[in-house]
């Protein structure tokens, strides 16, 4: 069963690439009609809810539009204002990059570390795995963001715990230099989802590789560096792509913790939050559309960089066999 799952897609993709036979039997034609019928809802969605809105937002990005009056063409003004005349925009870019650059590696490092601990010791793995997953399950909710805001507040439990070891904390939420840090911790706290993927990847490494490594006198660290990490690199790559995309789209916690402002001093003004405030706070739909396209371009470039870098360090075990 598992083997069919793995092989079938390749066959399917190859068939998809082949052009349909010319002429075509009645059965072929019937199948083609059926194909497009089954795809009908998807087509309506693709064109109506995705592609057309994308083009429309490209148009809106060159206009001044408040939803009440019809859009006024203003050329590149929105983009010029965004890049040269809006310090808040750059604050939001800075906060978003900082958030992603710190939270993604931190989250993946914790996920990998715990996965390695769980993988080595199989006893109770199922229970640990389920319990570590719980934060990933609940972490995106408003409820948890509310808890976070309370925990890291001036009168919060975190300061209470810190005072035991003699540290007097301030409010972590209202301090511009630590507010984003609480969001990073909240993101890293949800390490369960990538951890589960790492565990699935670790299971796939043949035990003989480690046995061979031991025979050659490789210690645990050498084995990790030369066997585990290369073998795990496709999974690491997969997690990196997923978490990077998610990392740039953080919204809920930033909104709740800052009371919907991105403060203090724009320190938690993540890109999507600023887009929301401009688009749906002051109904500057044209400006928000320009921001959306800027976001798409930047995220596209970053995703491309991640994919490009992948060819340098991702190791596919079966590369030589095909």
């Amino acid at each position: 069963m598992a083997d069919t799952v793995s092989r079938a897609p390749r066959v399917g993709l190859r068939r998809a690439a082949r052009p349909p036979a010319p002429g075509g039997s009645p059965r072929r034609r019937r199948e083609a009609v059926a194909g497009y019928t089954f795809l009908l809802p998807w087509f309506v969605g693709l064109f109506g809810i995705t592609l057309f809105p994308m083009l429309y937002s490209l148009y809106l990005s060159f206009t001044d539009y408040d939803l009440l009056q019809s859009p006024q063409w203003i050329g590149l003004d929105n983009y010029v204002r965004m890049l040269t005349d809006d310090p808040q925009y750059w604050n939001s870019v800075k906060a978003t990059l900082l958030f992603a650059v710190v939270s993604v590696p931190l989250k993946l490092a914790v996920a990998l570390g715990v996965a390695l601990l769980l993988y080595r010791d199989r006893r109770g793995v199922g229970l640990y795995r389920a319990l570590f997953y719980v934060p990933s399950l609940l972490g995106g909710s408003v409820a948890v963001a509310i808890v976070w805001q309370t925990l890291f507040g001036g009168q919060g439990a975190i300061n209470d715990i810190l005072s035991v070891v003699g540290i007097t904390g301030r409010s972590w939420i209202t301090n511009p230099s630590t507010a984003l840090g609480t969001l990073v911790l909240l993101a890293a706290w949800q390490f369960g989802a990538p951890m589960v993927i790492f565990l699935a990847g670790l299971k796939q490494i043949p035990a003989e590789m480690f046995e061979a490594g031991s025979l050659d006198g490789a210690g645990r660290f050498t084995q990790f560096w030369h066997i585990t990490l290369p073998m795990l690199s496709p999974v690491l790559f997969f997690n990196l792509v997923l978490e990077t995309i998610a990392g740039f789209q953080g919204f809920t916690a930033a909104f709740v913790i800052s009371g919907g402002t991105g403060g203090p001093a724009d320190s938690t003004l993540l890109y999507t939050l600023y887009l929301y405030l401009r688009g749906f706070g002051d109904f500057q739909m044209g400006y928000a559309s320009a921001m959306a396209w800027g976001f798409l371009l930047v995220l596209g470039v970053i995703t491309a960089i991640v994919f490009r870098s992948g060819s340098l360090w991702v190791h596919y075990a079966d590369e030589g066999e095909h």
Binding site: V5, S6, A17, P20, A34, W42, V114, Y276, L296
Partner: protein, 301 residues
Amino acid sequence: MTTAPSTLASAPLAPQAPAPGGRPARTAGSVVAHVVLVVLLVVALYPIAYLIGTSFKSPQEIANNLDVLPRSFTPKNYADGWSGIPGVSFARFFTNSVVVSLGVVVGNVVSCSLAAYAFARLRFPLRGLWFALMIGTLLLPHHVLVVPQYVLFNALGWVNTPLPLIVPKFLATDAFFVFLMVQFMRGIPRTLDEAAAIDGCGPFSTFFRIVLPLTKPALVTTTVFSFIQTWNDFFSQLVYLNDITKYTLPIGLRLFLDSSGQNSVGPMFAMSALSLVPVFLFFLVFQRLIVEGINTSGIKG
């Protein structure tokens, strides 16, 4: 994501049997590992324990007792929170959340399975192109589309109704679930389709009688994750719902934050804890599937 690592291609859905050779010896290293794991677990579960514990504290205790457990359990916060917002009961927010979540689940299961069947099983012109576009939308950030979609739904008069949250899901816009089901359907032996064709089944009856029943695990996965995602979703619901009677739970919870006084912390925590119960129940029932199923399904194939 199509060029997924093939080392994982044969990851089974079911948990693997323990390696032959018996359980590992209880060495000093293994004890240390367990101690580290338990400490990490305490840290990881502390915020949730704190949420539940605080939801049972009296206002006085919330002010002076920062321990996880209350000295005396009082359910009063739950009663206060349930009717906490003047004019609207939390029952209304719960109902609205249930309506939106169920609508999304039905929409995703129906529309994504239809699209997936076409991609996985039928041959038609331009299939490769459409499939590539579908994969492209998989990586498209939702926030890029929110402004023009809002303009569209506003023109249709749908703002402040659940329709903008539900209707797009009936159009297979959640590409992730389409992809998931395509991968799954490709694993169903084609000989079954061929046998059905010999028995006179066309594409439609093959879908309903053969493929759909066999796709059940992927349909369940889609159900579970659609539900959890929608239940926790904040952004779209915040954008589209602006009348208090239309609010879902996440938006309703926000009202407590706005009326922030020492006295509202207890009810706010109580309702926060309550809002997580459905997600947690789903987790308990489908734990194995959630932890082992979907997360690895994306890297298969």
